[in-house]
Symmetry: C2
Subunit: 335 residues, 2 copies
């Protein structure tokens, strides 16, 4: 848990404390050796060894009204889809495919039944798309609507954040920054700008990279999913792997829609790609001898792993950036 | 899911709809055959087959501020303990012991760090007591504090709600109604009544029946945990098993503290035992040939299973009663 920041004040609020410190404190409270082959707090998923030599992967992600979506603005089917996608993406990042899920639903007084049916419909669409099955869960009273998805998956081997080695290439699985731009467009209300619909769709209906999992299994030395922005995830990889990540701005894949969106605002599209969250693309590293595995995939090489520490963009240190994970409408942190 | 009530109005609120209808709708949306050996929605846990012939058990339970506890009134260590206990109790009810957990934490702005440390401390105490390990989870921004515990366990065989057969005896694992009385005392503020501390402790620090699991495995034809009150759980067993449950009021175990509490109010202690929730005792059925297994346990025989349907107390129909699961400070429903 070397990524954690620290605070000396026990009176610090959760907001001030930050998610990393919260996780560090949780890990400290719940510390102690785990049985051999068990992966605990600190990666995209936890893992338990399977008798066939593979691993069972476990993760959870929650969508809370007022934080991750706004009732009445997001369609509830989209909320169900996104909740499932966030968990499936964690499974993919560890090299696995999802199998089964439990859904924990917190329902405030007066919640409309049709909105919950739409939420289930979104979950059912995700089931069909990603190939998992909801086999249980819990329905609870709550004070705001929240849907917490616990996902189980399996992988032949656990692909961690910590396996990147100097000389490996750094790759991403598609264009970046689109979902964050889509959220901004959604916040601003109706837009007729070119590509706006595509960007909004990328926010409301992100896709976990299940199709890339065989490549990750075969070729990746490390992987993480991009829920908090490329910059933040590169820092996680660098710290977990004890290596330096060097990326090249000109190699970062940008959609035409994002470029048009950013140019219309006078922004650099690269800033959106570096710091925008919830794309659910995969960021991974590939040893040189496995580079041919990238072949026909949508993945792009954006840099290389070096000896050292930190993250560099075109040779200059790149600050962590990324989402503030306890702020409204932003992504969260896996412990 | 034959236990479900129905509503024709898609505009019904969640409150009006009720948890059983919500679960029925979820099950309908997420329907379809599961692979052989997989247990889906409808019992205390879901289950996946293990290669050794046993089952992996999966469940989750959440504690939401303002619903299941009141910040500042419940100690946060108690909240962590109760959240873990509720999930462990589900595992025990299916004949299993807990192994690993993920903890999903929703943290509102301004949450005090020391309160979260206390919550983790309660989880760590539960880990040590019940023998499971927290191996991951998620920290998310939220609008109210909530802790969702996803628990994994294992059992040599899955003990369901549906295995009770006519002639089996009905047993419970300890005194009932204590936790509900404790909550009432807590609501009312400080009390010097005899036994008040014990009852409050039974609410704040309920104990899952891990010690009874070997007996459940060896002797039980069906089992369920008493989270929603004896009456409600008997109805669940009766419906899942397609049988009638006959219990005898004089056999229901009551603590001296509950009896004193109820008498001081002019209540019948039996009503607290029948309808009070969150005791986390086990209700189970035992075929006559296995009755000697009850031997030295704390379990009491309270009645017998018969041909037919419904639940009867001293020969008279016993209404379902129990908690209203979407009401504040009450228990919830497993799907």
């Amino acid at each position: 848990m070397s990524t954690m920041t620290s605070t000396d004040s026990p009176e610090a609020s959760g907001e001030e404390l930050g998610e990393f410190e919260l996780i560090a404190r949780m890990a400290a409270r719940l510390k102690g050796g785990l049985p051999e082959g068990v992966v605990g707090i600190g990666d995209d998923c936890a893992a338990l060894p399977l008798s066939d030599g593979g691993v069972q992967l476990l993760t959870c992600d929650v969508m809370v009204d007022g934080r991750h979506f706004i009732s009445g603005r997001s369609g509830m089917a989209d909320v169900g889809w996104r909740a499932a996608t966030a968990s499936v993406s964690d499974i993919c990042a560890c090299g696995g495919l999802p199998g089964y899920a439990l859904v924990s639903l917190m329902v405030p007084p007066g919640q409309r039944a049709d909105s919950l049916e739409a939420l289930y419909e979104g979950l059912a669409e995700a089931e069909a798309e990603y190939g998992f099955r909801v086999i249980g869960g819990n329905v609870s009273g709550g004070t705001v609507l929240a849907v917490d998805v616990f996902m189980l998956g399996e992988a032949p081997r656990f692909v961690s954040r910590g396996g990147a080695r100097p000389g490996d290439r750094i790759a991403v699985s598609g264009t970046l920054g689109d979902a964050a731009a889509g959220l901004t467009l959604l916040d601003a209300g109706a837009s007729t700008a070119s590509g706006a619909d595509e960007l909004i769709r990328r926010h409301l209906r992100p896709r976990a990279e299940v199709a890339l999992v065989p490549l990750i299994q075969r070729a990746a030395s490390s992987a993480i999913d991009i829920s908090d922005g490329l910059s933040a995830e590169l820092h996680h990889l660098a710290q977990a792997s004890g290596a330096r990540m060097d990326i090249h701005g000109g190699l970062i894949p940008l959609s035409e829609s994002l470029t048009a969106f950013a140019q219309a605002r006078g922004d650099s599209p690269l800033m959106w790609a570096l710091h925008g969250g919830e794309d659910y693309r995969l960021l991974f590293t590939v040893p040189p001898e496995h580079l041919d595995a990238l072949g026909d995939s949508q993945a792009s090489v954006i840099g290389e792993v070096r000896e050292g520490e930190g993250v560099f963009l075109d040779g200059a240190p790149l600050p962590r950036g990324g989402w503030d994970h306890l702020a409204p409408e932003k992504s969260d942190r896996k412990s």
